[in-house]
């Protein structure tokens, strides 16, 4: 029986209405996905299997596609190097002269520092291992600023790992799969990074807004930042190691303090992913929170027992001599030798 022979065969629905129904269904799916998305959290499972699978597919494809672009870039750079060799040489000589002064200062400071560390018995952070990766795709729009790098869980990369270019911090890893990791840039609207002003030690939160220069939020104190101040990561909250270069403070056109990112100084094609884990990430919080009930103290039974016996012999409130019959006497209200168990630790228990 063909569709035309059916009793609904002559039923004609306007095409616009059927399209509207399809649109409605698609919109519900999209809205449900949008409401359930949590891409910026630290929970690895929030990134989702669909994104992990797509990243696994996109990364090698984009890796191949971006290779000619990289070759062209290198070619153009080598031609530029050839033409600007003399001026570059002059600039480098001046820079070297200045760097030599800094080197002497650094040696002296390192010596002083080591002496202080020895005197104080200070435990410093161990060196952070790194994984190098190539950026294969990037998004530059106002609503998402992320990059896909071609190294993933097989190199030990984990969610939350900070990412640096040769000039400064770029962002952090928000999703890892085999062979690819997604980097949330400092400029992304969902990015928040605790930073500090190098000169005054003032703390702030670097908040991205989709533009090239993220804002410094929650600045406190009188005159905490000046134009040209160097901004570093503060390491607060264990998100990133302390002291990574972020950029330079500038006053934005809107009157807000913003940061010209150090990583913007050169194209970001290769990145270093710091396999950093803060103490607060390593520590087993569940283990720390598990409180054993205290053992019964041996002296407690002896000290409480006579009181209990006295209470049993003398009902409270009467003050009368112990004339009550044994079968009407109130039972002891406390069990002296058995202490009450400790309350189970709640979520807020330290």
């Amino acid at each position: 029986m063909s569709l035309r022979d059916n009793q609904f065969g002559d039923l004609k629905v306007p095409l616009t209405w059927t399209a509207a129904v399809a649109l409605f269904v698609a919109a519900i799916v999209a809205i449900a996905l949008l409401l359930s998305d949590r891409r910026e959290t630290f929970q690895a499972e929030a990134y989702g299997v669909s994104r992990q699978v797509s990243d696994t597919v996109i990364a090698p494809v984009a890796d191949v596609l971006s290779t000619p672009g990289q070759w062209i870039g290198m070619g153009v750079k080598s031609v530029g190097d050839y033409f600007f060799a003399v001026s570059e040489n002059r600039r480098l000589k001046a820079e070297l002269k200045e760097a030599q002064q800094w080197r002497d200062l650094a040696i002296a400071l390192r010596d002083t520092n080591e002496r202080y560390k020895t005197i104080l018995g200070l435990k410093t952070d161990p060196p952070v291992p790194m994984a190098t990766a190539r950026v294969v795709t990037e998004s530059r729009g106002p609503f998402a600023n992320t990059r896909l790098a071609n190294a993933g869980s097989e190199r030990g990369i984990r969610d939350g790992n900070p990412v640096m270019s040769e000039n400064g911090i770029v962002g952090r890893v928000i999703g890892v799969t085999k062979g690819a990791s997604r980097i949330l840039l400092l400029t992304d609207i969902a990015s928040r990074v605790p930073v500090m002003v190098d000169r005054t030690n003032a703390r702030a939160i670097l908040a991205g807004d989709g533009g090239p220069n993220p804002k410094l939020d929650y600045l406190r104190g009188r005159d905490p930042v000046r134009e040209g101040d160097r901004i570093l990561t503060s390491g607060d909250g264990g998100l990133m190691p302390r002291g990574l270069p972020v950029g330079v403070a500038v006053k934005g056109l809107d009157g807000e303090w913003r940061v010209v990112l150090a990583s913007d100084a050169a194209p970001i094609d290769f990145v270093r992913i710091l396999l950093f884990q803060d103490f607060s990430q390593i520590v087993n919080t569940a283990e720390l929170n598990r409180m054993q009930p205290p053992p019964p103290s041996p002296g407690l039974a002896q000290t409480v027992a006579p009181t209990g016996a006295a209470a049993a012999a003398q009902p409270a409130g009467t003050g009368a001599p112990p004339t009550a019959k044994p079968d009407t006497a109130a039972p002891p209200t406390i069990a002296p030798a058995k202490p009450a168990p400790a309350a189970p630790p709640g979520p807020g228990t330290p």
Binding site: I31, S50, T137, S139, G141, F143, A144, A207, G211, D269
Partner: protein
């Protein structure tokens, strides 16, 4: 290969092929390539085909294709999953509701319509991002993306011209 007037228009020709072209160009524009220190622009190419599809004719498959394109953008660009899907579907809905007014308009007029729809779509994306991240996206970046998308209207017009009257059953 000739397309005679009697040949019915298969969805593959007016939905499938433009969708694949759109995906390929979007992927190419997402490569980290700088020319003289300047980065490639980032237009929302799927807005172009979304507009064209809704103008060409109402279809059940088109919203599903738009949903797919939106989810692809979200995954490729690392945006919240569903952001561009909702945005593109908003644009499709706007065009579907007002396509009677667009019928038979000249190219400059359609360009103006397209610009209006782009502004509505990006405003929707702006609103959704604001609700999601509790922060206002940078307006200058929004403007550049909008501009890069609007200047690409001639490609959408080519698609509309090619397929608006391609199927005699819809004359």
């Amino acid at each position: 290969m000739s397309y005679s007037a009697a040949q019915p228009l298969t969805p593959w020709r007016w939905l499938g092929v433009p969708m694949l072209q759109c995906l390929a160009v979007t992927l190419l524009l997402a490569l980290p390539f700088r020319v003289l220190g300047l980065r490639l622009p980032e237009p929302v190419l799927p807005l172009m085909v979304t507009f064209a599809w809704a103008v060409i004719r109402p279809s059940i498959l088109a919203p599903l294709a738009v949903l797919f394109l939106g989810l692809f953008l979200d995954i490729l660009w690392g945006a919240p999953l569903g952001l561009w899907a909702v945005t593109l579907l908003t644009a499709y809905g706007v065009v579907l509701a007002s396509r009677n007014m667009m019928a038979g308009q000249s190219q400059p007029m359609m360009w103006a319509w397209y610009a209006t729809v782009c502004v509505v779509a990006v405003a929707a994306a702006y609103l959704f991002s604001m609700l999601d991240a509790h922060r206002m996206p940078n307006l200058i970046s929004v403007f550049w993306q909008l501009l890069a998308t609007i200047v690409l209207y001639p490609f959408a017009h080519r698609l509309i011209d090619r397929f608006e009257d391609a199927d005699v059953r819809f004359r």
